[in-house]
Amino acid sequence: MKPRQISVFVENRTGRVAEVTRILGEGGINIRAASLADTHDFGIVRLIVDRVDEALTLLRSKQFTALDTEVVAVEIADEPGSLAKVLAILDQDNVNVEYLYGFTERGAQKAILIFRFENTNQAVEALERNRIQILSGEELGRL
């Protein structure tokens, strides 16, 4: 099952992102990765958490607009050139990347990349064909 990322709509005023993380923290939700995409008037907070459905319920109960999006999580070696290699593979197959962010995994000497693709299936097929390690939702949650 593909990993589900949580996206939360926040207005561009102080305290909104902090509020999102506070709610999750109080709910015992563990955030694995976070990114904030911002623009003039609003932002989208994107989170990888350990318990997606609980997190959604919590946020919605506090009047936040949140949804979950299917993303692709890729595990690569934590060394120079790793990211470039993955992107080259995607390029070759004309796979369109909507956005991506990454974080390293201490101890395992690995890095995780979270991708949002225009065409998820096309991307997964290309990555698998090139033997890139793809993580399932469960595996991502367990990190």
């Binding site: 709509f9 207005e11 989208i44 936040f64 949804l67 949002r116």
Partner: protein, 442 residues
């Protein structure tokens, strides 16, 4: 400041009629009008019959109040030509005005109506000091709205030179004002204030322009705004009032006394009523202005509810005109807003939002001043129905909202996406409009 032209009267024979003669003329024209609509307009035929009335029963002006009101909804329900009293062939012009939902209110004119309209606007222009020697710059939008064309035809009738520049492009307005030697400016009061600032920004002095008169309408304005406009351009600034549904500009206009607008009583009967009880408002009290047309051919209206609140000023005027004066508009009895001279109903916004992706978001209108001009902000709550994870899709959606609202409202708003439940709900109903502009009807 006062010179001879400011005391001129366009049509003294009618504008200075003794009050008794006005009343006689009004009754005669009212009877003719009721007879015509009874015969030619099924809507009025039914309305009158339901009220137990017919034209024979209109024997005095007091009988007017037995006639039921005509409302904006009635006009909307008979869109587009349901209230025509002449064959469509006789119509030579069709104007339209903002409707409460998507559909505009349609106003057709016969050739005689256009002539009447020109005559009325000529009156208000002359009352404001304009003569055939003037060069009149009309910075009202030309189009379906009655402002541009209305003032144009009136100015032409007076014999002035008309510059049909329409609205917008402020720097060019000032350039032309200077180069063409404009002596009279016609636009909304807030636009006049704005042009005053642009003039300063361009480094021009008042003496670099030839302006003498300003005739402003389309939105409420305060005494303070008048003072600011008069000093920004060193002009005599007068107010005028009208509404498309009964004609357009040319229902009433201020003379150089600048103390209330003379209602052209030979062409309209104006009443003031208590908007709740619908009884006549006692003289001196404010009330809702109700207008009956006396000379309209293509689309006469009986007792039209303008939703504008004002007061009558019955004292005689030094100018010699005998028509009743009305105060400036003090407010509305409905929720209509005027933003930069454009009439907007919150329900129009609702309809427009629904048309975009079929969503019914909670929304709120915030009105502010950006400098001297009005700005409309439409705040839209982002709920699960249209939230998307992709930034560019949200942006695109925001842009689509702006484009669609602009089309529907004839005004470009700012759209701000906000979190759910940030828009106040009072007893289950959202507070739809927050008006932060200070200078309202004072």
């Amino acid at each position: 400041m006062k010179n001879a032209s400011e005391n001129r009267i366009w049509n003294p024979e009618f504008e200075c009629l003794p009050v008794e003669a006005i009343r006689e003329l009004q009754l005669k024209r009212l009877q003719e009008t009721v007879r015509r609509v009874e015969e030619k307009v099924p809507f009025y035929k039914n309305r009158l019959r339901e009220a137990g009335l017919n034209s024979d029963r209109i024997r005095s002006l007091d009988d007017l109040r037995r006639i039921p009101f005509t409302t904006k909804d009635d006009l909307r329900d008979h869109y587009p030509y349901g209230l025509l009293a002449t064959p469509l062939d006789h119509v030579v012009r069709i104007h339209a005005s903002s409707g409460t939902t998507g559909k505009p209110t349609v106003v057709p004119y016969s050739r005689k109506d256009i002539e009447t309209w020109s005559e009325l606007v000529a009156r208000l222009l002359v009352a404001g000091g304009v003569t055939e020697r003037d060069i009149v710059q009309i910075a009202f939008g030309y189009g379906l709205f009655t402002g541009g064309f209305g003032l144009h035809y009136g100015a032409e009738k007076v014999g002035a030179a008309v510059i049909p520049i329409s609205s917008g492009n402020s720097e060019r307005q000032i350039q032309i004002m200077k180069d063409f030697g404009t002596t009279a400016l016609v636009c909304t009061p807030s636009y006049a204030l704005h042009l005053g600032e642009v003039r300063k920004e361009l480094g021009l002095e008042v003496k670099d322009l030839s302006l003498k008169y300003g005739l402003f309408g389309g939105e409420p304005w305060t005494v303070k705004m008048r003072e600011q406009i008069q000093s920004a351009f060193s002009i005599l600034a007068t107010d005028n009032y009208g509404l498309s549904e009964v004609m357009g500009p040319g229902v009433s206009g201020e003379c150089s006394q600048q103390n209330g607008m003379h209602i052209f009583d030979d062409h309209f009967i104006a009443e003031l009523v208590n908007p709740e009880t619908c009884d006549p408002a006692p003289l001196g009290d404010q009330g809702e202005l109700i207008i009956t047309t006396l000379t309209k051919e293509a689309m006469p209206v009986l007792r039209y509810r303008t939703r504008d609140i004002c007061r009558f000023l019955p004292e005689s005027c030094l100018c010699g005109r005998t028509y009743m004066r009305m105060s400036k508009v003090l407010g509305r009895t409905d929720d209509m807003l005027i933003i930069r001279g454009v009439n907007i109903y919150p329900s129009q916004v609702e309809t427009a939002l629904l048309e975009v992706e079929g969503i019914e978001p909670h929304y709120q209108l915030v009105l502010r001043k950006r400098g001297v001009l009005d700005e409309l902000e439409v705040r839209v709550e982002v709920d699960e129905a249209f939230f998307t994870d992709e930034m560019k899709k949200l942006h695109w959606f925001e842009e689509k909202l702006v484009a669609h609202l602009s089309k529907r409202l004839n005004l470009t708003p700012r759209v701000v996406l906000v979190e759910p439940k940030t828009i106040e709900r009072t007893v289950g109903k959202a507070r739809r409009v927050i008006d932060l502009r200070d200078e309202k009807n004072a």
